[in-house]
C-alpha cells in the first residue's frame, strides 16, 4: 500500500516541479497537462484508497516512510496514517483540486503567469495531502505551514497589485500567530510523552489528562487542556475563526480558482480536520471543547451577518465560508466530530461550486466583481445559473441538498449537547440559518435576477482582476467555455447527493475507531436512536425550525432585493450604525492595524532609535571611545618631551623613594 500513498502524494509534487521549474520549456499546454495528469493520478488512486477503506474494509495503515532525524532519543519520522477519515479527506481534496485544475485552464487563459499558477495549485495539493495523511505532529506541522506558504504565494499571485501583496502578507502573519500557538501546543504534548506520533499520544491521552502545568505562579492548569487550546488557536488562524479570521476576506485578492480550492474547500478546513483527528485528546478536555464551541458559534453567526452588506460577489462567498467554518467548529465543540467532518465534505463541494460559479460570472462580466453592476444574468448563462442555484440551495440547507443533511446534523447535535456554552451556541447557529439564507439569496438574486444593471453601469475600473483580457467589452454576457462549466456540473452532483451519506457517516460505524467520543457526550449516538433512514430524516427536516428559518431567509431575500428593492436602502438609512459596523467587519481590521501593526512598528522604531542607537552606540560604545580619548588626552599632558620635566619627575620620585626607605 505504501507505494500507492507515496504516488498519491508525489504525483502532484512532480507536476508542480515540472510546471514550475521547466515552465518555459513545457509551455502552457505542457504545464496544464502535466499538473492535471498528476492530480488526476492522485484523485483516482485516492478514490481507490477510499473504496478500500470505506467499502472493502481495509485496516487503517500507519507506518513511517523515512526517519527525518533522531536526536536526544526522539525519533522524528515522516509517515502516513490512512484510515477512513484520511481517505475521505484525500478524496475530497483531490477531487476539488482536480476540478479546479480543469477550471483554471479557462479562468487563467490569458494570464502571463499561467505555468506558475498550475505549479502552485499542484504544490498546494501535495502540501494538503501531506497534512491530512500525516501520522505525526511534525509532518502535520509541515503540511500546515506548507499550505500556508502556497496560500501566501497564491493570494499574492498578481504581485503587482498593492492590495494583493498586502493581503498575502497579512494572511501569512495572522497564520503565523496561530502557528506560534500550534508549535507550543505540539511542544506541550511532546513534553511528557517524548513522542510526536499520533498513536503514541492518543494511547497516553488518559495519562496526560492528569498532568498539570503551572503557567502562572500558584495556578495549576491541565496540560492537556493547555495543549488542546493552543492547538486550537492554530486551527483558529488556519480555519479563520474569530478573532483570527481577519485574513480570509482579504485573501479574495487571489484568483478565483484558488479562492475555491484553498480558501473555501480545503486549506481552511485543515483546522477542522486537525481537531477531529485529535478527538482522542480533545475528548479529555471539556474546557477546550467549550472554548471551541463558543468561538465557533460566534464565528458562525456574526461573520454571516457581515455577508449581508458585502457587494463584492467573492466577499459574500468568503464571509459565508467563515460562517460555515464556524458551523463545523461548533460541531467539534459539541463532540459531534463526524458532523463537523460531514459538513466539511459537503461544504467543500458546494462552496467550491459557488466560488467557481462566481468566477464564471466574473468572467462573463469581464472581471467585474461588484454585484451592484450585475443582475439578470441567469438567462445568459444557464449552466452557471443552474449550478449556482444548486450550490445556493445546498448552502442554505434546503431539504434534499447536501447542506441540509450536514447542517441539520450539527444543529441537532448542539441542541443535545451538554458541553458548556451549548445553549448559547444553539441560539446562534439557529439564527445563523436565517442569515445564511438571506445573504445567499440576496447574492443569487442580485446576480442572476432582476434588472440588468450592467447595461448602464459606469465604466468599471479594471483594477479588479487582470487575469483576463478585456476583449469583447460591451457585448452580451455569455456562458463560459466548457472547461469552466464542466467542473461546475461535476461539483453540482455531489453538492446534491453527498448528503445522502448521512446514515453511515453520522449515525453508522464509518468513523468507528477513528473519531473518539466520550460516551457521556456522544450526541450523535443519541440522535442516531431517532434516525430511521435518510427519507425519514428528510421528511422530518420539513418540520424543523432550521427549514422554516431558511425559508424565511429566502423569501425575505426575494422580497427585499427583487420585489421591493427600496427596503434595503431604507434599512441602511434607518440603521446607519448597524450598517457601518457590519461594513467595517466589527472593526477588527482597524483595531489590528492600530494596535498590533502600528504598535509593533512603533515599538521596533523606539527600540532601535533609543535602545540600539542612543543607549548602546552613542552612550556606551562611542561614549567609551570618547572617554578613552579624553583620558589619553589628559595623560598625554604628562609626556611633554621636555628633558627638564622628566628630570624633575625623576628627582621627585627619587626623593619619594628615599623618604620611603628612610622612614
Amino acid at each position: 500500500m505504501e507505494s500507492i500513498y507515496l504516488a498519491i502524494v508525489l504525483a502532484p509534487l512532480l507536476g508542480a516541479a515540472v510546471a514550475g521549474l521547466l515552465g518555459r520549456q513545457v509551455g502552457r499546454a505542457g504545464a496544464h497537462s502535466v499538473t492535471i495528469a498528476g492530480v488526476a493520478v492522485s484523485f483516482f488512486l485516492s478514490a481507490y484508497v477510499f473504496w478500500q477503506h470505506a467499502v472493502a474494509g481495509a485496516a487503517p495503515y500507519n507506518d513511517s516512510v523515512y526517519t527525518w532525524m533522531v536526536a536526544d532519543g526522539f525519533r522524528f519520522e515522516v509517515g502516513f496514517l490512512v484510515d477512513r477519515l484520511t481517505a475521505l479527506m484525500m478524496l475530497v481534496v483531490t477531487f476539488v483540486s482536480f476540478m479546479v485544475h480543469i477550471y483554471t485552464i479557462g479562468y487563467m487563459r490569458d494570464d502571463p503567469g499561467y505555468q506558475r499558477f498550475f505549479a502552485l495549485i499542484s504544490l498546494f495539493t501535495f502540501s494538503m495531502l501531506m497534512l491530512v495523511m500525516a501520522n505525526n505532529f511534525l509532518q502535520l506541522f509541515f503540511g500546515w505551514e506548507a499550505v500556508g506558504l502556497v496560500s501566501y504565494l497564491l493570494i499574492g499571485f498578481w504581485f503587482r497589485r498593492p492590495s494583493a501583496i498586502y493581503a498575502n502578507l497579512k494572511a501569512f502573519i495572522v497564520n503565523r500567530v496561530g502557528d506560534m500557538a500550534f508549535v507550543l501546543g505540539i511542544a506541550a504534548l511532546v513534553l511528557h510523552t517524548s513522542s510526536l506520533d499520533y498513536a503514541t499520544l492518543f494511547a497516553r491521552a488518559e495519562e496526560l489528562s492528569g498532568i498539570t502545568l503551572s503557567l502562572l505562579p500558584g495556578t495549576e492548569w491541565s496540560l492537556l487542556s493547555v495543549a488542546c487550546i493552543l492547538l486550537f488557536i492554530g486551527a483558529m488562524a488556519k480555519s479563520a475563526q474569530v478573532p483570527l479570521h481577519v485574513w480570509l476576506p482579504d485573501s479574495m485578492e487571489g484568483p478565483t480558482p484558488i479562492s475555491a480550492l484553498i480558501h473555501a474547500a480545503t486549506m481552511v478546513t485543515a483546522g477542522i480536520f486537525m481537531v477531529a483527528r485529535m478527538s482522542p485528546l480533545y475528548e479529555h478536555s471539556v474546557a477546550a471543547l467549550g472554548f471551541i464551541l463558543v468561538i465557533g458559534a460566534i464565528t458562525a453567526f456574526f461573520m454571516g451577518l457581515i455577508g449581508l452588506v458585502q457587494n463584492d460577489i467573492k466577499r459574500v462567498v468568503a464571509y459565508s465560508t467563515l460562517s460555515q467554518l464556524g458551523y463545523m467548529t461548533v460541531a467539534l465543540g459539541a463532540s459531534a466530530y463526524a458532523a463537523g467532518i460531514f459538513h466539511l465534505m459537503t461544504h467543500a463541494f458546494f462552496k467550491a461550486l459557488l466560488f467557481l460559479a462566481a468566477g464564471s460570472v466574473i468572467i462573463a462580466m469581464h472581471h467585474e466583481q461588484d454585484m451592484r453592476r450585475m443582475g439578470g444574468l441567469g438567462k445568459y448563462m444557464p449552466v452557471t445559473y443552474v449550478t449556482a442555484l444548486v450550490g445556493a440551495l445546498a448552502l442554505i440547507g434546503f431539504p434534499g441538498f447536501s447542506g441540509f443533511f450536514s447542517k441539520d446534523g450539527i444543529i441537532e447535535a448542539v441542541h443535545l449537547s451538554s458541553t458548556p456554552g451549548a445553549g448559547f451556541a444553539y441560539v446562534l447557529v439557529l439564527a445563523g440559518v436565517f442569515v445564511t439564507a438571506l445573504y445567499t439569496f440576496r447574492m443569487f438574486f442580485m446576480v442572476f435576477h432582476g434588472e440588468e444593471r450592467f447595461r448602464h453601469a459606469p465604466p468599471p475600473d479594471h483594477g479588479q482582476d487582470d487575469a483576463h483580457g478585456h476583449h469583447g467589452h460591451g457585448g452580451e454576457p455569455h456562458e463560459s467555455p466548457w472547461v469552466v462549466t464542466l467542473p461546475l456540473v461535476l461539483l453540482a452532483i455531489p453538492s446534491v447527493f453527498a448528503g445522502y451519506l448521512i446514515g453511515p457517516l453520522l449515525f453508522g460505524d464509518f468513523f468507528d475507531g477513528v473519531l473518539h467520543v466520550d460516551p457521556s457526550r456522544d450526541v450523535l449516538a443519541e440522535l442516531g436512536h431517532h434516525y430511521h433512514g435518510v427519507w425519514g430524516y428528510l421528511a422530518h427536516g420539513f418540520m424543523m425550525p432550521p427549514f422554516w428559518l431558511a425559508m424565511a431567509g429566502l423569501v425575505s431575500a426575494w422580497y427585499i432585493y427583487l420585489r421591493r428593492p427600496g427596503i434595503a436602502r431604507v434599512a441602511r438609512e434607518r440603521l446607519p450604525w448597524l450598517h457601518a459596523t457590519l461594513q467595517r467587519g466589527y472593526g477588527f481590521d482597524a483595531f489590528n492595524d492600530a494596535v498590533f501593526a502600528a504598535g509593533t512598528r512603533r515599538l521596533g522604531q523606539f527600540l532601535w532609535r533609543f535602545g540600539d542607537a542612543l543607549i548602546i552606540d552613542t552612550l556606551l560604545v562611542n561614549g567609551s571611545s570618547r572617554a578613552v580619548g579624553w583620558a589619553a588626552g589628559r595623560l598625554r599632558l604628562g609626556q611633554t618631551g621636555y628633558l627638564y620635566h622628566y628630570a624633575f619627575a625623576m628627582i621627585i620620585g627619587l626623593l619619594g623613594l628615599i623618604l620611603a626607605f628612610a622612614l
Binding site: V70, D72, F159
Partner: protein, 504 residues
C-alpha cells in the same frame, strides 16, 4: 584510504598556501588569479568531504587527531582533532568559501588576487579555529582570523568602512583579551593547554564564574549577543558581499562554538548558575532585535539584525539544558536544545549566506541597499525573486527548509524548561515572518518601482548556480536533517553527560 591522511592539517594549510600563491601571482592576469583561487577553494572542499564520510558516528572521541610538539617549554602543542560539533562547521566553512570565490568572480575588479587570497587565508584560519585542540593554538587562529576580515572590510568595503572596521576590530579584540587571560589562568590551574585536559580541571565556583564572565565577553561579542551586537550591522553594511557572507555564515558561529568548546564543558557550574543571564540575553536577541530588524531601511542591516536574532536561538539552545535540569530534575530534553542550537548554526550559515548573496546580486546592479529604492523586482528578475522568497521563507523558519529544524528543536527543549521561555522564543515565528516577508513585499513584489528596476537583468549563470546550490542545501537539510544529527548526536550526548557532573 583518506582516514590516515592528515586531513585537518590539509584543510587548514591548503587554502593558506593557495592564498599565498594567489598573492604571488598577483593581478597581472586577474583571470588566472581567480581560477587558481577557485581551484584551491574547491580542492579544500573536496579534502573536507572525507571528514564527513569517514567520520565515526558512534563515538564522542576526537577524530582525525594530529599531534606535534610546538612550544615545549609551555607545553603547547600543534594538536588537531574534530568531533561532531566542529566537523560540520569545517564543512560549512569550506563550502561557503567556494561560493564566495565564485560570487566575487566578476564583481570584484579591484585588487582581485588580494581579495581572493584574503578569503583563502581566512578559510584556513577558520578551519584552524574549529580543529584546534590546544588552547594556545586555538587562540592564535582565533586572533589571526580577524586580520583578513579586517582587511576585507577596510579595502573592499563601503564609504564608511574605516569606522566599521575599527568598531569591528576593537569590539572583538576587546573581547578576546579576556579570553587570553582566562586561558592563562586555566593553564596555571591545569598545567596544560590541551582543551580536553581543561575540560577535566576542577575549579571552584568563584573562579568558574569569573572565567565564565571573561569568556562570555569574548564569545558574546563574536556571536554577537545583546548588548554587544551593534558592531555587526555596521560591519555588514560596509563589508563587500563576500565579507558579509563569511562574517554571517562562519565567524558568528565561532562565538557559539567557543561556548560549546570552552564555557560549557570547562565551567559547568558557572554555566548552570548563570543560565538565567544567558537565557535572558538570548530572548532579548529574539524579541528585541527581531523588533529592531522590522524597522530597518537598509537591506543588509535588516539581515544583520535578523542574524543576531537567529543566533539568539543558538545561545538559547545551548543554555536551556541547565534550566531544563533545574525545573524538571533530569536532563531529558537537554540534548535537544544543544543539538537544536547546532543545527541552527549550520542552517543560519546557509540561509544568511544566501540572503547576503541575494542582496549582493541586487547591489551589483543598482548600487544601493536602501529598501525604498526597490520594488517589483520580481517583474524583471523572476528567478531571483523565486529564490529570494525561498530563502526568506527559510529565514522565517518554514518547515521543509533548514531554518525550521533548529528552531523547532530549541522550542521543544524550552517548553520543557518553562512555558514562558518557549512562548517568547516562539514569537520568532511571527517576528521573523514579519520582518523577512515585509522585506520581500517591499523589494520583490509590487509594481516596478523605477527605471533602474525596470532595466534589471535576471540572474546570470554564475549567480544562478551559487544560489541554486544553496537552495538545494537549504531544502535538503529541511527535508532530511538526519545525516547532520547523526554526526552530532554522540558528541552532544557526551557533552550533556559531562556538564551534568559538577566540578565543585
Amino acid at each position: 584510504m583518506f582516514a590516515d591522511w592528515p586531513l585537518l592539517s590539509l584543510v587548514i594549510w591548503t587554502p593558506i598556501l593557495g592564498g599565498l600563491m594567489v598573492l604571488i601571482l598577483g593581478d597581472r592576469v586577474p583571470e588566472a588569479s581567480r581560477r587558481l583561487a577557485l581551484a584551491f577553494a574547491v580542492l579544500t572542499f573536496l579534502i573536507s568531504i572525507p571528514l564527513f564520510v569517514y567520520f565515526d558516528r558512534g563515538t564522542h572521541e576526537m577524530q582525525f587527531q594530529e599531534w606535534v610538539p610546538w612550544i615545549q617549554a609551555f607545553d603547547i602543542h600543534y594538536h588537531l582533532g574534530v568531533d561532531g560539533i566542529s566537523m560540520p562547521l569545517i564543512l560549512l566553512t569550506a563550502f561557503t568559501t567556494v561560493l564566495v570565490v565564485i560570487a566575487a568572480w566578476d564583481v570584484i575588479q579591484y585588487r582581485v588576487s588580494q581579495y581572493m587570497a584574503a578569503f583563502l587565508i581566512l578559510e584556513g584560519l577558520m578551519h584552524g579555529v574549529f580543529a584546534a585542540l590546544d588552547a594556545v593554538l586555538f587562540y592564535v587562529f582565533f586572533e589571526a582570523m580577524l586580520i583578513p576580515m579586517f582587511l576585507v572590510i577596510g579595502i573592499w568595503g563601503g564609504p564608511n568602512r574605516i569606522y566599521a572596521t575599527l568598531k569591528f576590530f576593537l569590539y572583538t579584540f576587546f573581547g578576546s583579551v579576556f579570553l587570553l587571560i582566562s586561558l592563562i589562568y586555566l593553564y596555571v590551574q591545569a598545567g596544560s593547554f590541551a582543551i580536553l585536559d581543561l575540560h577535566q580541571v576542577p575549579l571552584g565556583m568563584t573562579a568558574q564564574v569569573l572565567l565564565f564572565l571573561a569568556m562570555l565577553l569574548a564569545f558574546a561579542v563574536k556571536i554577537p549577543m545583546f548588548p554587544v551586537h551593534t558592531w555587526l550591522p555596521d560591519a555588514h553594511v560596509e563589508a563587500p558581499t563576500g565579507g558579509s557572507v563569511i562574517l554571517a555564515a562562519i565567524m558568528l558561529k565561532i562565538g557559539t562554538y567557543g561556548f560549546l568548546r570552552f564555557s560549557l564543558p570547562i565551567l559547568p557550574d558557572a554555566s548552570m548558575a548563570l543560565d538565567w543571564l544567558m537565557i535572558t540575553l538570548s530572548l532579548i536577541a529574539v524579541v528585541y532585535v527581531g523588533l529592531v530588524a522590522l524597522m530597518q531601511q537598509d537591506m543588509k542591516k535588516l539581515i544583520a539584525y535578523s542574524s543576531i536574532a537567529h543566533m539568539g536561538f543558538v545561545t538559547l539552545g545551548l543554555f536551556i539544558p541547565f534550566m531544563v535540569f533545574a525545573n524538571t530534575g533530569d536532563w531529558q530534553g537537554a540534548a535537544l536544545g544543544i543539538s537544536g542550537g547546532m543545527v541552527q548554526m549550520i542552517s543560519h550559515g546557509l540561509v544568511s549566506a544566501a540572503l547576503f548573496l541575494c542582496i549582493g546580486v541586487l547591489y551589483d546592479r543598482m548600487h544601493t541597499r536602501r529598501i525604498a529604492d526597490y520594488g517589483g523586482v520580481a517583474n524583471t528578475m523572476p528567478w531571483f525573486g523565486a529564490l529570494f522568497v525561498l530563502f526568506a521563507m527559510a529565514n522565517a523558519g518554514l518547515p521543509g527548509t533548514s531554518g525550521f529544524v533548529g528552531e523547532f528543536m530549541v522550542i521543544l527543549a524550552s517548553f520543557r524548561a518553562d512555558f514562558w521561555i518557549a512562548f517568547l522564543a516562539a514569537t520568532t515565528l511571527v517576528l521573523a515572518a514579519a520582518y523577512t516577508l515585509w522585506l520581500v513585499k517591499r523589494v520583490i513584489y509590487g509594481e516596478v518601482a523605477n527605471d533602474q528596476v525596470a532595466q534589471l537583468q535576471d540572474l546570470n549563470r554564475r549567480e544562478f548556480w551559487v544560489l541554486g546550490v544553496l537552495a538545494v542545501a537549504v531544502l535538503l537539510l529541511g527535508v532530511w536533517p538526519a545525516p547532520l544529527l547523526d554526526v552530532m548526536n554522540e558528541t552532544v550526548d557526551h557533552l550533556v553527560r559531562h556538564i551534568a557532573v559538577s566540578k565543585l
